[in-house]
């Protein structure tokens, strides 16, 4: 029976639609939560950056993580998802990694992977993975972020050949758009020129900035401030990627649900046609039979 197989197909398509719809809704709530977390940490990030700028500009202090280093190696942190089914999310990160690698052919690139897919990305691009984190919890606890950061800084500290640390992540623009990018992480870029221009314009604040006093001394304050800034930066990057991942999944699941409902409609049409054909055939058989008898 043809109608029976169509009916079976309809049922399975309907079920798939239900599942993708549910996944979409879960991802919507997860996306909202990660965006909210990112916003919550924004204040801390802004303020620690301001502090660092103030320190850097006015006292001309230096710190290992603010200095540019010479070397032939780059440490690349790749942030991607643990799970699939999120459209082009991981593919876009992968493209950026490939591009970065092609632009830096005279450097040796090592990778730290966050998320199972990152490992695959690194392998696909023929990059050596020195550490990977794929058992992190849903929204990253501070302990987890700290251990990621520690792995990065330890690797950077223990090998002078590392020229810099960069992060491949996905910037969250809105729930409909996100960009995969590669951004420098260490050495920290404090926009001195811009800050100085800002102070020149406001001589009054320049005078006041000069009055900054430090306890116990400038260097130890800076030593405390730099890790805090690094921590917030990596936390923000992780959360941005997370928000992007979920919104990518929302979009992928919405498309899947739409496709499922289209497919269902088409199958229903086919089913009705097949049923009608069967009825017509039956009637014509009866009519044919009776006319043959009479």
């Amino acid at each position: 029976m043809q109608t029976k197989t169509i009916k079976q197909k309809m049922r399975s398509v309907q079920n798939i639609g239900k599942i993708t719809k549910a996944m979409e809704m879960i991802s919507v709530s997860k996306m909202k939560k990660s965006v909210q977390k990112r916003t919550a940490s924004q204040s801390f990030a802004d303020r620690s950056f301001e502090l660092l700028e103030n320190l850097h500009v006015h006292k001309n202090l230096t710190h290992p993580y603010l200095e540019t280093r010479k070397g032939n190696k780059i440490l690349l942190v790749i942030i991607a998802s643990n799970k699939g089914l999120c459209g082009g999310y991981n593919m876009n990160v992968s493209k950026q990694v490939t591009q970065f690698k092609n632009e830096h052919t005279n450097f040796t690139i090592d990778a730290i992977a966050v998320g199972k897919q990152s490992e695959k990305i690194a392998r696909r691009n023929d990059i050596n993975v020195i550490a990977s984190f794929n058992e992190l919890s849903d929204y990253y606890t501070s302990g987890e972020v700290r251990s990621v950061l520690k792995t990065i800084t330890d690797t950077y500290d223990n090998d002078d050949n590392y020229q810099s640390v960069v992060v491949a992540y996905t910037q969250f623009v809105s729930s409909l758009s996100f960009d995969a990018t590669v951004t420098p992480f260490i050495p920290l870029k404090v926009d001195v020129a811009q800050k100085l221009a800002h102070i020149e314009a406001d001589t009054n604040s320049k005078r006041k900035f000069a009055l900054y006093s430090f306890e116990p001394d400038e260097q130890s304050v800076l030593n405390a401030a730099v890790p805090a800034v690094l921590m917030t930066v990596i936390y923000q990057l992780l959360l941005e990627s997370l928000a992007s991942e979920h919104s990518a999944r929302v979009m992928a699941m919405r498309n899947a649900s739409d496709n499922a409902s289209d497919m269902y409609d088409e199958l229903k049409l086919n089913f009705n046609r097949a049923r009608q054909a069967a009825i017509t055939q039956e009637i014509s058989e009866i009519v044919g039979g009776s006319s043959a008898v009479s």
Partner: protein, 142 residues
């Protein structure tokens, strides 16, 4: 008290814990307690695990912080950046002690000091104990 006030912001990576206009702030630094009043000289100082006492008129509020950095700006802005902070003004001793006990139990389950989690738990326990201390000290004041 002058009509000048300080804008205090206490921020952690997880959230902005406190943001209000206050008259006076007392914090614990590595070298002892200091009190910030309006028109204080711009200052940057690392903080220890301890309490932040905030005065608004005759009203006092207490915050618990796990170290961090205090920055006094020339614009009457005071910023405290910390890994962990809570407003404990409304916290009673019992709740604080329960939280401390939980942290302690958790730590005892993981007795291996080589585990990475251990250090984090130890910190958490010290922080919860700090909250208990602040809550009980406040109880005596009243």
């Amino acid at each position: 008290m002058s009509d000048k006030q300080l804008q205090l912001t206490v921020a952690t990576p997880l959230a902005e814990v406190y943001k209000e206009m206050v008259d006076q702030i007392t914090v614990t630094t590595a070298n002892g307690e200091i009190t910030i009043l309006p028109d204080h000289v711009p200052l940057v100082v690392p903080l220890d695990l301890g309490q932040v006492m905030v005065k608004k008129g005759n009203h006092e509020e207490f915050l618990s912080i796990e170290g961090g950095i205090l920055e006094v700006r020339h614009t009457h802005d005071v910023v405290i950046l910390s890994n962990r902070a809570d407003n404990v003004s409304k916290l009673d001793i019992q709740t604080a002690e329960d939280a401390y006990q939980r942290a302690k139990d958790l730590m005892q389950e993981k007795l291996d000091p080589n585990e990475t989690e251990y250090a984090a738990l130890e910190k958490k326990m010290a922080y919860e104990l700090n909250k208990v201390k602040i809550a009980s000290r406040r109880g005596q004041r009243r």
